[in-house]
Symmetry: C2
Subunit: 356 residues, 2 copies
Amino acid sequence: MRIEEIDKNFVPASIGDLQLHYLEVGAGSLMPRGLAWYEQDKQFCRLPQAALSSLSEGVQGLAWHTAGAQLRFKSDCLHLALQVELRGPSNMPHMPASGQSGFDLYLGSGRDKQYVKTAIPPYGADKFEQLLFSQSQAEMQEFTLNFPLYNGVKQLRLGFSPGAELCAASPQAVKNPVLFYGSSITQGGCASRPGNAYPQLLAQQLDFQCLNLGFSGNAKGEPRMAELIAGLDLAALVLDYDHNAPTPEHLEQTHYPFYSLIRARQPQLPIIMMSMPDVDLKLEAANVRRYIIEQSYKKAVAEGDKNVYMIDGFKLFGKSYRDACTVDGVHPNDLGFQRMAECLQPCLARVLRVEA
Amino acid sequence: MRIEEIDKNFVPASIGDLQLHYLEVGAGSLMPRGLAWYEQDKQFCRLPQAALSSLSEGVQGLAWHTAGAQLRFKSDCLHLALQVELRGPSNMPHMPASGQSGFDLYLGSGRDKQYVKTAIPPYGADKFEQLLFSQSQAEMQEFTLNFPLYNGVKQLRLGFSPGAELCAASPQAVKNPVLFYGSSITQGGCASRPGNAYPQLLAQQLDFQCLNLGFSGNAKGEPRMAELIAGLDLAALVLDYDHNAPTPEHLEQTHYPFYSLIRARQPQLPIIMMSMPDVDLKLEAANVRRYIIEQSYKKAVAEGDKNVYMIDGFKLFGKSYRDACTVDGVHPNDLGFQRMAECLQPCLARVLRVEA
């Protein structure tokens, strides 16, 4: 029994007989954001092509996942649709295809954006098309489309109703992007749709461009990664780097050096360190790791760093319904991600000098 | 690329060489709860076998989904595993297999339960086995295992370490079950795991047995369904019946009669009516439907009913991060479900006469 046969709420809208004009994403007003090296490489990849071979095999593969990528534009189109070819079908048992491979659309500008729709690939599909938006009278609106969190995009085309205008979106409240470096949790595992991963929630709430460098299982704090990050012009850096260090010793040997390499090249960059959120089922191990991160933080402060901050992972999930925050004891669900965003928001707003 | 190959956090625990003794679920201390007619029919079905043919085809199929079913027992086992044959593989694009077809385990008694693990079928599988729990010294503990929300269970066996004791769980705080009648939202679409559907969250927080009669796309307020509900000995009834009425007229013609049929046979039963939560994208339609439900409620009160309550669906998702509460504009994710549970909890606690 396929659920969409008996519950009409599960049937995706069909494009039917609509006449649409398709544009390839990757030029003009359809340049993706959230991919720091897109302008240079013209690839839907989170890392520069020239650097891939200098990173681990895991990072090389995961760099093609489009977590954090967005399209932002204005249009008065009557209809908007997308056609996409993904790098593969969805295959994760505890993250729905909507989060792994879906696109979610918001309308509006600044902080006044409203979620509208999620384009979700049918079960098992790696190509699909979907109508995302319709209005009855041409009105100029601002669109924000989030890319898949745990899949890659081979080709993406947007379909506009004939005669629609298309132009650049309004500037964001924060000029430079905010970069998040970390594990599967940073990458967005296991949000139900891209906009609900915690970096995207924060990007929406505080209106900044998010660079998501979350590498599921592969955030090992490599110096090469720190160099790449240090070369970017950022508004802030969140180091959600804890989980994937294979041992506490590895974490200890890499955490401060990772920070330090970036700090040496970016003396003014606000850096927020955090420890992992899912502590309850492995309290002892989480304590050891939090201590290591705290030592990094304290050392940085002792050395006179006035722009380093620490978020205690034990506080990320809050108090009530804490138990309901993960799908599997490790990966946050949308509740866990909302709690993380809420916890980080005041600190991030402060360093970005915007209203919380 | 399968994610479990590159992120070890995604690899399910293997049962390996463990010697386990498997028991068939459905007898003795392994009698499922949350299936009101199990003792009579010995079927993992949410409705009585004799009544199935008198209900719609959709309800007949969905009755086999095990939303709300639970196993509760005490054991001092060193290891616990499950072997299950489901009615089909997972196939929903916006609900992960963990929620559709998974089992989640809690340890502890009363309100002091802690989430431990989710047994998740591998991608595409309709049979699987998984180790759920291990401890190094035999200690008697209370186990609560939630069944899949959007799949059926053909056969379920639990594996215990040899020599383990097995006995009945402690009684729950509320003697009779609480029944939830409604749509896909009631059934738990789209929670990331069974314990995170809003009826299960409430059952855990207030310690009651939950009867989940959510029928995705098929909660049409049929008199036959009202009769079945009216025949049960309940502590409270939540009528989350709104979404699936094909038109406002259908809702108007069935909502009060549905309530009224149950009230005639259950003069003392607390009945909580609620309107749907996902109102923002279709405000006008939601207003019409809320008005109809409010009229039912007001009519009941005017007739002297002192045990009927109304929850305003517009308030279910709260205020902050409201936009992040659904996966698709219709179905709540874990954040939406937590907000719903939080909103309902005071009212439900009051009618059940337990602490909120």
